[in-house]
């Protein structure tokens, strides 16, 4: 990943900064600049998601791409935030430790790195609420 590509999305990676349409109340993550329902009536504002949500579905990655090989086996899940948006994220848990519906909260972790000398990509993973 280029340095610029990582840097551009730091607000989303670190702090789950999305958007919300003040007209219809819909939340967007990743952020949208335009509400597909309200169209020109929509008023889009930034919204920082607290990050609490639940596991919609999950899988265990045992054969990963090169930069995630050292983490295998790891849990990848679709998370639904309490405000509605869904996205894919890693869950810091042992395989079998979570199930559909498990409540999760965000944690700040090292996601990947551009080799031994490149930029470290920090971001958000999730952990089961204990």
């Amino acid at each position: 990943m280029s340095v610029a590509r990582f840097w551009r999305k730091i607000p989303q990676r670190y702090n789950l900064i999305g958007t919300r349409c003040e007209t219809c109340g819909t939340y967007f993550f990743p952020p949208r600049t335009f509400c597909p329902e309200c169209r020109r009536e929509g008023r889009i504002v930034d919204y920082r998601f607290p990050g609490k949500g639940k596991v919609v579905t999950h899988t265990v990655i045992r054969s990963a791409s090169e930069q995630f090989e050292h983490l295998t086996p790891y849990v990848l899940a679709i998370i639904q935030l309490d405000e509605g948006p869904r996205f894919t994220a890693q869950v810091v848990a042992k395989p079998g430790e979570i199930e559909v519906g498990t409540r999760v909260r965000p944690v700040f972790r090292r996601i990947a790195a551009d080799g031994e000398s490149g930029v470290i990509h920090y971001g958000t993973k999730f952990v089961p609420v204990r």
Partner: protein, 351 residues
């Protein structure tokens, strides 16, 4: 008056027992545990480092108190294991707590006392009116060479203290330092692991500096050890802080709440700060806390702290909104040495 507005601690969930490390190196586990008073130490997860620990500690601090992050005008992260040699951990922390861009930031390095040096800097900036709030963090994923004495204790963890002057939960009445050029422990540029002077780290290093800074502070504030409810000393092992407390006239009861090293290990820059946090976890309004850190190289920072009514005022501060040190030490996941080596990146991989 300047003081601590809130604090937070983060400790990774993984542990390795001292006896497991001793097993690998053919050492006598009972002798080591008996000598150090340390039974296990924390180990970072595969995706945790000084920056992630610092961010989690800072976020826990902000969970305990409603603060506008944009008022945090300074962030200092003390560590001897910053993820980058050049690029500040403090910028990552500032971004992750929403304090950027109107803030100053820097990383500090002074062996195990870089975090308390950050507290002193924040005190100066707040007292001079340059910033309304300053955040000082001590965080480390401490390194110890395989088979070296340090490996039995070098742990991972961090603590964050928000310094300001509006309704602090604890006033910092005074701070002072004692610093000399003493090569008791060091890591040369480009080296993976620190080296140390063995027993030389004791008398000319730890004991000289901790005692000198502590006595200086006691004389400056005109206090005696029994004027304090609690005392916290840097804890590279359990023996040193107990011994220095005794030499200075503090009791076992005074240091007990803050003596976290037996089941945590030495979190280097986090060490005395986590000890202070564990003490604040149980402190009540009016309690006085004496703190002396130590960083090899060498120096000590002493603090005269008094807990205020704000610590018990739910409108200002909610202690239970973040986990206590005792809670963070509960329910660990134990690793064997091979798993520990993988977590710490000690295994040479094919690239």
């Amino acid at each position: 008056m300047v003081g601590i507005l809130t604090y937070g601690v983060y400790i990774p969930r993984y542990r390795i027992r001292v006896k497991e490390i001793a097993r690998v190196w053919g050492a006598n586990a009972d002798e080591i545990t008996g000598g150090l008073g340390v039974f296990e130490k924390s180990v970072p997860d595969m995706d945790e480092d000084t920056a992630t620990i610092a961010v989690e500690a800072a976020r826990y601090a902000l969970a305990r108190r409603k603060v506008d992050p944009e008022e945090i005008g300074a962030v200092y992260v003390g560590s001897e294991s910053h993820p980058y040699a050049v690029k500040p951990t403090a910028c990552t922390v500032g971004e992750a707590i929403g304090a950027t861009p109107h803030m100053t930031a820097a990383d500090y390095e002074f062996a195990c006392k870089a975090g308390t040096a950050g507290i002193q800097t924040c005190m100066g900036l707040v007292q001079s009116g340059i910033v309304p709030l300053g955040l000082a963090i001590g965080s480390d994923v401490a390194q110890g060479a395989p088979g070296d004495a340090l490996e039995y204790t070098a742990a991972a963890g961090g603590a964050a203290f928000l310094i300001g002057n509006r309704d602090p939960i604890a006033l910092i009445h005074r701070t002072c330092s004692f610093t000399t050029d003493t090569p008791d422990f060091w890591r040369r540029a480009g080296q993976d692991y620190p080296r140390h002077g063995g027993r030389f780290t004791g008398d000319p290093g730890y004991f000289r500096h901790v005692q000198a800074a502590a006595k200086l502070l006691l004389s400056q504030v005109g206090a005696k050890p029994d004027d304090y409810t609690y005392a916290v000393f840097h804890q590279p092992n359990a023996k040193f802080p107990r011994r220095v407390a005794q030499l200075l006239g503090f009791t076992d009861a005074q240091i007990r709440p803050g003596l976290v090293v037996p089941h945590l290990g030495n979190t280097y820059s986090g060490s005395s700060m986590i000890g202070l946090a564990a003490t604040l976890d149980v402190a009540s309004a009016g309690d006085r806390i004496f703190v002396t850190s130590f960083g090899s190289g060498a120096g000590s920072d002493s603090f005269d702290i008094e807990v205020t009514d704000a610590i018990e005022s739910p409108d200002l501060f909610q202690r239970a909104a973040a986990p206590s040190v005792e809670e963070l030490l509960k329910d660990p996941v134990y690793l064997d040495y091979a798993q520990y080596a993988k977590h710490k990146g000690k295994i040479v991989m094919q690239i």
